[in-house]
Every structure is written in C-alpha cells, then in structure tokens.
C-alpha cells in the first residue's frame, strides 16, 4: 500500500495521509484560505496599488508654511543659544540644538512634499534651499554668528515659495489671497507624483508571511512538476510558514493588535476632487474593510435584481425617486452604481462591503483559532505529561483540575470572565486567545496523561532510566515524541473548536472589537432577517474552514493509527 522506500515514520504517515482524497482537498482548501487571509490587503483594499496624482492642497499648504518655518529658524538663530536656553519655552525641544533640529526638519518635510510634485528645474531651487538650511543649522550649532545669513536665507525662501505658486492653481483659497497672487511671478507647472499607498501600508511581517506562503506554493509546485518528492525541503518551507504566522501573531499581540489604519483618506479625497488623479490602479475589490458608506446601507448583493439602485432607493423609502441614481455615493475607483460586481456579498448596516470584511475577517479568525489551538496544546501537553509522569500529588491536582474545568461550558466561562474583567491592557483578541487556551486544554491533557501512563512502564523507558537518564531527558527525548500522537490529532480538532468558539464570542460581540472584522463579528452585525446576506455569507467561511480542519484531523488520525486500513 505505501511506498517501500519511505524510510522514516513521518514519511509513512505522510504517505498514508496523502492517499486520502478528501484530506488532500481539505488541506488545499485550508492553504487557499490562509492565502486569502495573508493576501487580503492585495485583494480588498481602498488604497490603490499605484497612483499618479497631484495633491494640490498638500502642496499648497507645504508651500505656504515653508517661509513661516524659515522665518522661525531665522528668529531662533537671532535669539541665540544663551537667550533660548534661559527661556526654555518649548518642552519638545529642550536645548537650543534640538530646537534647531526641529526647525530644520520642518523645512525639510515641506521641501520633500513640494519636490514630489515639481519638475526638475523648479525642484533644483528647493534642493539649494535645503542645502543652505543644513549649512546654516550646522554653523549655528558650532556657535558661529549667522544672524544676518539667516535673515537673508528667510527672505530667499519666501521668494522661492512665492515663485513656486502653481500656474494653474484655481483653488478658492488662492483667490482670497489676492495680494499673494499678484506678486506671484510666472508660476510653476505641477507634475504628478507616483506613490504606492497599498504597499507602503504593509507591515514587514505581513510581507514575510506572503513570501513564506509563496515559498510553500512554489515548493509544492516544483515537487509536483518534477515528479520527485522533496519532503525535507517542503517540510522546511512549511515550518517557515508556521513560524512566520506565529511570529506575526506574537508581534500583533505585542502591539495590541494594532492593524494597519482602518481606512485611508485617499478615496474620499479623490472623490471630492482634491486630488488630480492621472492614473490609479486599484485592488480587485476597491473597498476597505472599515470603509463606511452611509448612502449604501444594507444593500443586497449587487448581482441581484432587487439590488438595482432605483429599487434599492425605493425600498429605503427615499422620497426622491427621480434622484435615485444620485442617492448612492460612488467613490473614486469603485464600480458603477448598478455594476453586478459592485458588492458581490452586499453591504452591512454601515454600508461596508461584506466581501472585503469577510476576507479581512479571515485574518483575525484564522490567527486566533490557530494561536489558541497552539497555546492550549502546549498547556495540555505540559500538564498531561507532568501528571502522567510524576503521578502522586501532581497527578491528583491536575486530574481534579481537569474534572472541574471540564464541567464548565466554555462559552459560559468566558462570558463570565469577560464580564468581570475588562481586558483593556492586553487587547480583546489576546484576551480571547488566552481564555480559550486557559479553559480548553483539558482534553489534550487527559489524552497525554493516559498515553504517558501507558508508556512509562515500557522497556525503552526503563532502559533509559537504567542508564541514568534524567527525568527531563526521559520525558522530553523518549516519552513525548511517542506520546504526542493523540495530542497532535486532538490539537487539530482543537483548532476547529477554537475557531468556532472565537466566532461564537465575536458573534455575541464579546470577541474582537472595533473596525477589524472577524467572521463571527461580521455575522453578529446582522441585524434583521430581511438582510439575509449579512447572515449567510460569513457563515460559509466559518463552515468551510471548520469542515476542512475536521477532515484534515480525521485523515491525520487514520494515518497515524497503524490499525486502520489505509
């Protein structure tokens, strides 16, 4: 049945596992889900991949405040070190040098902002100014007297700023400032700056996860195409993915699950016409997970006839039937009002795109489910092994604790703890993981205890003891590798349970808070039965994931069980 040259036990198990069609499919589904979660920013995002635009308001504000900053620098130098440090008015810049740095930095930011929208000849003058300001600050730090030079510098900056007024500037604020406009000579032509808002918003660990996921995919494809199996390399790639996910979680937990800012102002600004966009490439789903649109609340999936904008407006009780088209705000980069692909899953009670929320929700749900399963397995293995190995008082304590904890339905216990304690310091997601682990370890511990009890009297353990191995060595080197089998299977099932539990808690609005969605909280947002899409779609994700995990766990159990035919 299995490959004769499968040398190690691991390969034997893998071979038996692979021979199950369902299991292979389930693993594929899980891998795809992990991919969706990892690549969610690329699939559903309100930031474009690439945008070529002129941000006129930003340019103008930088231009106007540039000479102000230069004047302040001049004033600072005129005050001098002694006088400034005697006054010490600004707590953010306690010393003269720090104050100088602050002013120089202010000038540099403004120059950078302006340079981004300027063509080469106009930019050259700004670069000169930057060099001058640096030289000035350096000289002032050395204690040289540069009061006159600083005044001259401020005047020059004011001239440059005035000259940099855009020629085709038609902002109303400009018209108000007639005096300034009159003196503006010539004017410059603004050029579009290329930025990558989406990629800039990615965290380093997100990128690491993406690379790891692609690495596993590549390894699997190579193995498949070459026909020869490369189990070691693939195992290594898998380990890298798991490590990256774990590190990702740890980092998120440490930073209080501060995900990337919920929405960018980009689309809103573009819609208002504040940005002149030359070119913008959006993600396939150009909606952010927390991007609300109050003109499009509770809209049915847009491929349905009932979702057509006129009917939608009528069903919302809009009195202005003729203006139905206008009543839904279509932002920059979004599909047209009645495009069937506008909201494939519909929108929720705040007008957020449900598909985007489901995709981003998979990050929370999968991470919390996996992390909780990992944590509870570690606790369970340690306590179970301790109880089984040492017996006596430790076994007594652990067994009685298991019996007590097992009596509690986990949902009740967690609801109870969450209502008596507010996990403000640690973040709701971390609290959910910790609580699931704290109350879910009993099953793994019980299995491991029974397994260790069975093994501890066997010859190989007695032999290890006879040659003088320490307790720790026997347990960690000899016992655990042999006793882990049922615990591994239980850990896989625990991942499904943890995911279900997290979804239940989020459904009851006890889990992850705020704009960051999880599948359960998206489901919990569904308010009435008439808005069926908010109830139906997120559940499919939970169901498919749990089903795939169960299938994987079952196949793993059968593959690990030498008695099963296979």
């Amino acid at each position: 049945m299995h490959n004769a040259d499968a040398s190690s036990r691991l390969e034997l198990v893998l071979e038996r596992f692979r021979s199950r069609k369902f299991a292979r499919f389930a693993v594929l589904v899980l891998f795809a889900l992990a991919g969706l979660a990892i690549f969610a920013p690329f699939i559903a995002n309100d930031r474009p991949y690439v945008v070529e635009s002129i941000d006129r308001p930003r340019f103008e504000s930088a231009r106007r405040t540039l000479s102000v900053a230069a004047n302040e620098l001049a004033a600072l130098i005129a005050t001098g070190r002694a006088a400034h440090e005697a006054e010490r008015v600004d707590p953010s810049a306690p010393t003269f040098d720090a104050a100088l740095e602050l002013q120089a930095a202010a000038i540099e930011t403004r120059i950078a902002t302006m340079s981004a929208s300027l063509a080469e000849p106009d930019r050259a003058r700004l670069v000169e100014i930057r060099a001058d300001s640096r030289a000035l600050v350096a000289a002032a730090k050395r204690g040289e007297d540069r009061v006159a030079a600083a005044r001259e510098f401020a005047t020059r900056v004011a001239t440059v700023a005035r000259d940099s007024a855009p020629a085709d500037g038609k902002l109303e604020r400009d018209i108000e400032r007639d005096a300034e406009r009159d003196t503006a000579r010539g004017g410059v032509q603004l050029v579009a700056a290329v930025t990558h808002p989406l990629i800039e918003s990615l965290a380093p660990l997100e990128v690491a996860c993406m690379v790891a996921w692609l690495g596993v995919l590549a390894a699997a494809l190579v193995a498949k195409l070459a026909g020869a199996r490369a189990p070691r390399r693939r195992t290594a790639a898998f380990a890298v993915l798991v490590l990256a996910l774990a590190a990702n979680f740890g980092w998120r937990a440490a930073s209080g699950f501060g995900f990337v800012p919920a929405t960018s102002s980009f689309k809103v600004a573009a819609t208002r016409g504040e940005l002149e966009i030359r070119r913008a490439i959006f993600a396939p789903i150009p909606f952010g997970y927390a991007e609300t649109n109050l003109s499009e609340v509770d809209r049915a999936p847009s491929w349905l006839a009932s979702s057509e904008s006129a009917r939608y407006a009528a069903s919302r009780g809009s009195s202005d039937a003729s203006g139905a088209q206008a009543s839904i705000e279509v932002r920059f980069g979004e599909p047209a009002v009645d495009a069937p692909t506008r909201h494939l899953f519909g929108t929720d009670s705040l007008g957020r795109d449900l598909l985007a929320r489901c995709l981003w929700g998979s990050r929370t749900s999968l991470t919390i489910g996996g992390a909780a399963a990992l944590a509870l397995s570690v606790i369970g293995v340690l306590l179970g092994a301790l109880a089984g190995w040492f017996g006596g008082a430790i076994d007594f304590a652990v067994s009685r604790t298991i019996e007590v904890v097992q009596c509690f339905p986990a949902v009740f216990l967690i609801v109870f703890v969450l209502s008596v304690a507010r996990p403000e310091g640690v973040g709701a997601a971390f609290a959910v993981v910790a609580l699931i682990a704290l109350f879910g370890w009993t099953h793994v511990a019980r299995l491991l205890r029974a397994e260790v009890l069975r093994l501890r009297g066997q010859d190989f353990v007695v032999a290890a003891r006879a040659i003088g191995a320490s307790n720790a060595r026997i347990v960690f080197v000899h016992l655990l590798p042999n006793a882990l089998q049922p615990a591994i299977v239980a850990a896989v099932f625990a991942a499904a349970s943890a995911l279900l539990l997290e979804s239940s808690l989020s459904f009851l609005s006890l889990g992850v808070q705020g704009p960051m969605p999880s599948w359960g909280s998206v489901l919990g947002d569904s308010t009435s039965a008439s808005v069926w899409w908010t109830a139906a779609f997120p559940g499919v994700f939970i169901f498919v994931t749990v089903l795939a995990v169960h299938r994987t766990g079952e196949a793993l159990r059968e593959a690990l069980d030498p008695r099963s035919e296979g």
């Binding site: 007590v404 009596c407 509690f408 009740f412 008596v420 029974a450 049922p486 039965a529 109830a535 169901f543």
Partner: protein, 367 residues
C-alpha cells in the same frame, strides 16, 4: 466549545477513568466548581463593584450618588472588605455572614441564610426587587426541558443512524451519511440558527414562527391551543440544539457498533449458530449502546453552552439568554449564578451517566 472527537483508542481508557472516579469525586468537584468561580472573580484585575454602573443601558445615566450607594451596597452584600476566607464561606453558604446575616456570626438575623448552597445569588443590579435565584429557576424551566429533549432527540436519531452505518460499513450509504454527519458537526450553532430563522421564518418559507416561545395573542388561546403554539415555536430551536449532538453521537455509535461486531462474543454467538438477527439485536446492539450512555457527560456542556447562542438568536427566555443579558448589563450576580448553574448541570449529567452505566454494566458496579 464543540466536543472534540476523541481518538478511538482512548475511549475505553476515558470510560474507566470517569466511572471509577465520579461517585467519590462528586462533592469535591462541586466545591471545585464553586472555588474556581470564586478564584476567577478575585484573580481578575479590578474591583468588582467598579463594574457597576458602566453598563451601556439607559440606566447608566443614573446619578453618581446613587451609583456610590449601589456600589457600597454591593460591597456589603458580597463582604468585599472582609478577609478572603470569610468572603468564600459567605459566598458558599448556607450561612449569611454579612451584617444582616445569621445571629451566630454576629449578624442581625434579618437574612440568616445565603450563599450558593441555599440557591441564593443575590438580586439583579437593574431590578433590585428581582432575586437572581428565582429568576434563574424560571429560566431553567425553559432551558432544562429544551436541553433534555434535545439530548433525547439526539440519542433517538443517532443510535439507528450509527447502527445503519456500521452494518453498511464502507458502502455508499455509510459514506454518504458519514459525510453528512461531518458537515453537521462542522456547522456553527449560531449560523445554523440564523439560517433556520431565514429559511423557515417570515422572510423565507414562512412555515414556522421563529422568535420567542409564544405568539403575542397566546394568552387568549385554550390549553391545547397554547401547547400547540408552544410546540410550533419549539421546533426550530430544538433542531438547533440537537443537530450537533446527533452528529457526534451517530459517529460514536458507528464506531462502537463496529468495535462490538468485531469482538469475540459476537463471533462466539455466530459460531454456536444463532440466527443473524438475534446476534445483532440481542447481543451486538445492546452492548454497543451501553457505552454511549457515558457520552451524556460530554454532551451536556455542549448543549448548555450552545444555549447562549440558540436562545439569543431565537429570543427564548432561557438560562443562556439570561447569562448574555447579565453580560450586557455587567451584572455580577447574574453571570456568577448562570456560570455556576451551567457547571452544576454538567456535573449532574456526568453523575447521571455514571449511575446509568453502573446500572446496566455489572462490571462497573463491582469496580
């Protein structure tokens, strides 16, 4: 949490573990449950009385002086300023150790008995005239029949299904039912409940009422009409309560039946020439069913835990919904009481399972 499907190898080991220990450890486990709740309240950061008054309801705007008074009352009621051992005994009962408590302990004798042993859980924060214990009893009158019916329903359907699958092992029927059961087992309770509401409620087929236990006009109905109305309201929640247990039990029944069919006494029965029907129904089936009884213990926490979700979705005034309301109002007394009672229900389920198993299996009785 759903039940983890235990690997087949460990089932007999678990059985022995529970059957030996439970009678002896019934009382210690009860005290352990009580102690765990007490420890959790005191181990969590912050003063419990501070939770009072930051509920998000309409009452949250009550004046600060009333709030201070309420907090002081809460501190006095739970003896929060007393030493820990005294708080523990006060919470356990049966004596009330507070200032208005039993005369033996220096109280005024106004309220001599208290603590969980007398089923006294204090009063609700929002409605001070309502005793949590009495309200909880009313809620249990809804949840316990639901849970018991769901349990019975799961067993009644799972046993024939499991036998069928075991007899048709490896054939199409077995595999089809098996896939269906894994699917059912993976279905989140709250989603299934929502789908039932969507499909059978007014927005879908409109076959059954979906919310609450009675129609608004139920008071005018006759007894029989009222019962019929209740039954119609109960169908969907019952389905939501029982499908998970059904899936779990049927799979366990299948493997138990397969294990039994492969055992020596069945071979012996066949060898001595008993007709196959008698081998099956008189020997195999009863012996395969007996170990299933112990699974009651692992199903009760699942069903009771699911009651929060099912009762919230279907708006049934049961214990689970009471716990959720307690959470929303940050009402200590309610969440402590519901958590405690849910655990005691599980303990009772475990004890019943062992007791019933001992009745049917003489080996356990002897051990």
């Amino acid at each position: 949490m759903t039940i983890e499907s235990a690997p087949r190898t460990s089932r007999r080991a678990l059985l022995g573990f529970s059957a030996r220990a439970r009678h002896v450890w019934l009382l210690p486990t009860f005290f352990g449950i009580h102690l765990l709740i007490f420890v959790l309240v005191h181990a969590t950061p912050g003063d419990p009385s501070l939770a009072l008054g930051d509920s998000s309801g309409p009452d949250a705007q009550s004046s600060s002086s009333a709030l201070v008074e309420q907090r002081a009352e809460f501190r006095a009621e739970h003896l929060l300023d007393a030493p820990l051992w005294k708080q523990y005994l006060h919470y356990l009962g049966p004596f009330d150790l507070s200032a208005r408590g039993h005369r033996w302990f220096g109280g005024s004798g106004e309220h001599p008995w208290g603590g969980v042993l007398t089923f006294d859980f204090g009063h609700e924060f929002r409605r001070p005239q309502v005793s949590v214990g009495a309200e909880l009893l009313a809620r249990l009158e809804v949840t316990v029949p639901f849970a018991a019916l769901a349990l019975a329903l799961s067993f009644a359907l799972a046993i024939p299904l499991g036998i069928l699958c075991a007899l048709k092992r490896g054939q199409f029927v077995d595999r089809a039912i098996g896939s269906l059961l894994v699917g059912l087992f993976s279905l989140p309770v709250f989603w299934a409940s929502l789908l039932l509401v969507l499909v059978f409620g007014a927005t879908g087929l409109d076959w059954l009422p979906v919310l609450g236990l009675h129609d608004k006009d139920a008071a005018q109905l006759s007894d029989a009409g009222s019962l019929f109305d209740l039954a119609r309201h109960a169908i969907l929640p019952l389905v939501a309560f029982s499908y998970g247990g059904l899936a779990y039990l049927a799979r366990q029944m299948r493997s138990s039946m397969i294990e039994t069919l492969e055992s020596d006494f069945i071979r012996a029965a066949r060898a001595k020439g008993l007709p196959e029907s008698r081998v099956l129904w008189a020997h195999a089936v009863p012996n395969a069913i007996f170990p299933m009884i112990t699974l009651v213990g692992s199903l009760v926490p699942t069903i009771v835990g699911g009651s929060i979700l099912v009762e919230v979705v279907f708006q049934i005034p049961g214990m689970g919904r009471y716990a959720y309301e307690g959470f929303l109002q940050r009402d200590y007394n309610i969440v402590m009481a519901t958590t405690f009672v849910s655990a005691v229900m599980t303990l009772a389920g475990l004890w019943f399972a062992d007791f019933a198993y001992a009745v049917v299996d003489p080996r356990v009785r002897r051990a």
